[in-house]
Amino acid sequence: MSVLNLRLGAFAAALALLPATSSGALAQKKYDTGASDTEIKIGNIMPYSGPASAYGVIGKTEEAYFRKINAEGGINGRKINFISYDDAYSPPKTVEQARKLVESDEVLLVFNSLGTPPNTAIQKYLNTKKVPQLFVATGATKWNDPKEFPWTMGWQPNYQSESAIYAKYILKNHPNAKVGILYQNDDYGKDYLKGFKDGLGAKAASMIVLEESYEVSQPTIDSHIVKLKSSGADVFFNITTPKFAAQAIKKNSEIGWKPLHFLNNVSASIGSVMKPAGFENGQDIISSQYFKDPTDAQWKNDAAMKAWNEFLDKYYPEANRADASVMYAYIVSQGLVHVLKSCGDDLTRANVMKQAASIKDLELSGLLPGVKVNTSATDFAPLSQLQLIRFKGENWERFGEILSGDVGG
C-alpha cells in the first residue's frame, strides 16, 4: 500500500516536473560521464574502518536508501549505482579513493564524503576536474565558498553558526557568565571554539575563564572536568563527541558541578548520549537540533518517523535506531534524490551544481518542523537553521524560534 502511494507520488512529481523541463532538456537528453539512460553513478567515501568507523553507518544507510529508490523505479527511470569506498579517515587514502571514483569508476559526482580533513584533501582535485563534491558530511564552515570552490557544497548547519547561536543566547540571558569550554583538539573542536569566540565578540576574553582540549586517544576526560570545576565557571560549553559527552555529563554530576551546560549538536542524541549518561544527570542541558531525534519519545507517532521506521524495516533492518547517523543519512539521501530529480534529463555535472544551488524552502522527511533547505548561487550552505532545545525528563523540549546563524565561509 505504502509503496504504491510512494510510487504514485513519484509519478506525480515527475509529471509536475514535465512542464518545467520540456522546453529544453526533454527534447535532447544531456549526459556527462557517469549518467546514462539507465543509471546514474554516485561516488561516496566513508571511514568504514579505522578510528572514525562509527560513521560508516552513514554510508550503509545511504546505500539502503538508494536501494529503496531503485526498487521504487529509480530517478526519472534511471537506477542509482551507489559506489562507496573506505578511506579509514586517512587523507592520502581519500585522495586515492576519490581518484578511483572519478577516473576508474567514472561517477557523475561524489556525494556526502565524510570528514573535514578527507574532504579538504580532495576538494582541489574535484574542483579542477569539475566533479561535484556534493553535500559533504562535515560541519566545517569552509564548504560554503562558491566563488573559490564552485564544485563543492556543504550540507548540515555549520559548527560556527551553531556555537554563535549559543554565544548569543549567553550574552542575552547570562551576560555576566564565566564560561568554561571543553573541546576536542581537531578541526571540528576548533571550528566550534572559533564560532563561539566570534559570537561573544569583545566579551570573549573576559567571559571565557578556561579552555580545555582533549585528544580522542584519551580514555577519560575526568581531569579536564576537575580543572573546569575549579576554574569557577558557571557556564559549560561542551564540544565533544558522543562518548566524551556522556562521560562529561556523568562526571559533572559525580563531582557535583552544576553549571549551565551547553552541549553541541554532534552529541544531542538521547539514545547514544543522554541515556547512557543517565537521564537524571542531563537535566536542563541546552543544545540545538535540526532533525528529529529518533530516540525522542515525542516523535513516536510522527509520520516522518513512521516512514523512517518502515524504510529501515525493509531495507536496513539491522540498523541501530538509536544512532543519529542513520537519521542524518536518511535526510541527506533525500536531498540528493531531490537534486537528481530536478535535473530531469540534463544529467551534466554543471546542471547538478545548478540544481543543487537553486533549492527553495525544501522540506525533507525527518527535519524538525520549520527547518527548510535553501541554497542559491551565492549560498552553498543548504541547512542553516537550528532549533534550541532543553533536556527535560527523558525528552528534548524545543524552545524559542527557529534560529538561523549563517556564518559565511
Binding site: 568507523s53 562509527a54 553507518v57 585528544e215 586517544s217 584519551q218 576537575v226 548520549v273 547512557p276 544512532d323
Partner: protein
C-alpha cells in the same frame, strides 16, 4: 592546593584504569615474552560478552563469571589455533599476527554491536567514596580489585609450581623443557590468564569510559606505558606504574603552562622514555644481563 589534591585524586582514579590493563600486559609478557597488541581488543570483546549476557537477563555476578570462563577458554583457543603454528616464525611475524587479530576483533565487534556507546553497570555503585566526590565507590572498588589481583598474581608467580613453571617457560624455554615443563601449554595457559585478567579490566573500565568497540584503544597505550614504566616482569611495578602515569599526566596537563594541556600524552610518554633511558628495565624490573 585544592586543585592539586583534586588532580592527584582524579589521577589515581584514572590510574586505576591503566593499572588494571597494565596487569594484563605483564601477564602476557610473563607468558610469551613479548607484548600482545590485540590485548585491548580482546578485553573489549570480553566486556561485550558480559554486556550481552546481562542484556539477556543473566545477573551481574553470573555474567562476570561466565565471561571470565569464556575469556580464559577464548585466550587458550586463540593461542592454539592462531599463534602455536607461528611458534617457529620470527618474532616480528608474530607481531604482525597480533595486528591482524586486532583488526579482526575490532571489526567483528563493530559489526555485531555497532559503535554507539553502551552503559555498563557497576557492582560498587557510583556514589562518592568516603565523602570525596573525586573518587566514586566504583573507582575505589576498581582500585581494590586491582590490588587484590596484584596480590593473587604475585602469589601465583612466586609460590605456585605452575606459576614458576610459566616464568621458566617464558624466560628460558629450552632449560624449562629440559626439566620437564610443557612449555607449549604454559604459553597457552598464559594466554588464557591474560585474557581473563583483560576481561576483568574491561568490565571495570567500561562503567567509567562507556562500552564501545574502540574503548580500549587509548587505554592500551597507557597500559603499555604503565607496564613498561614499572617493569614488564613485575606485577607490582605495573600497578605502581599505572598510578604514576595517571597522576603525572594530570599534573602535567594542569601545571605545565602553554603546551601542558595539549600535550598531556606526549609529555607523559617522554617522561617514561626518560625513565627507561636511566633504568632500562623499568622501575621494578629485574635488570637483564646479556652474554655472548
Amino acid at each position: 592546593m585544592e586543585l592539586f589534591i583534586n588532580q592527584v585524586l582524579a589521577g589515581i582514579a584514572t590510574g586505576a584504569i591503566y593499572a588494571c590493563m597494565a596487569l594484563a600486559v605483564v601477564m602476557i609478557y610473563q607468558a610469551i615474552d613479548h607484548l600482545n597488541f590485540a590485548q585491548g581488543e580482546m578485553a573489549m570483546f570480553s566486556t561485550f560478552i558480559a554486556w550481552q549476557l546481562m542484556q539477556w537477563g543473566v545477573p551481574y555476578w553470573w555474567a562476570f563469571l561466565l565471561t571470565l570462563a569464556f575469556s580464559f577458554a577464548g585466550g587458550i583457543a586463540i593461542e592454539r589455533m592462531l599463534f602455536k603454528p607461528l611458534a617457529k616464525a620470527p618474532i616480528l611475524t608474530n607481531v604482525a599476527g597480533f595486528i591482524a587479530l586486532f583488526a579482526i576483533v575490532n571489526s567483528v565487534a563493530g559489526l555485531t554491536w555497532d559503535f554507539t556507546i553502551k552503559q555498563f553497570p557497576t557492582p560498587f555503585g557510583s556514589s562518592p567514596f568516603l565523602g570525596s566526590q573525586l573518587i566514586s565507590t566504583h573507582q575505589a572498588g576498581m582500585i581494590g580489585v586491582t590490588v587484590g589481583l596484584l596480590i593473587l598474581l604475585y602469589l601465583f608467580f612466586q609460590f605456585t609450581r605452575i606459576g614458576l613453571a610459566m616464568r621458566a617457560a617464558a624466560s628460558l624455554p629450552e632449560s624449562a623443557r629440559l626439566v620437564g615443563i610443557n612449555t607449549s601449554w604454559m604459553i597457552a595457559l598464559g594466554w588464557g590468564m591474560a585474557s581473563a585478567i583483560g576481561a576483568i579490566a574491561g568490565i571495570l573500565i567500561a562503567p567509567v569510559v562507556f562500552l564501545e568497540p574502540n574503548m580500549m584503544g587509548g587505554v592500551l597505550i597507557y597500559g603499555f606505558a604503565a607496564a613498561v614504566l614499572g617493569g614488564l616482569t613485575s606485577p607490582l611495578g605495573a600497578v605502581v606504574g599505572g598510578f604514576l602515569v595517571g597522576v603525572f599526566e594530570n599534573l602535567a596537563g594542569t601545571y605545565i603552562p602553554g603546551v601542558g594541556n595539549e600535550l598531556k600524552l606526549p609529555i607523559a610518554l617522554a617522561l617514561i622514555i626518560t625513565v627507561l633511558v636511566l633504568k632500562p628495565a623499568g622501575l621494578f624490573g629485574r635488570p637483564i644481563v646479556k652474554r655472548v
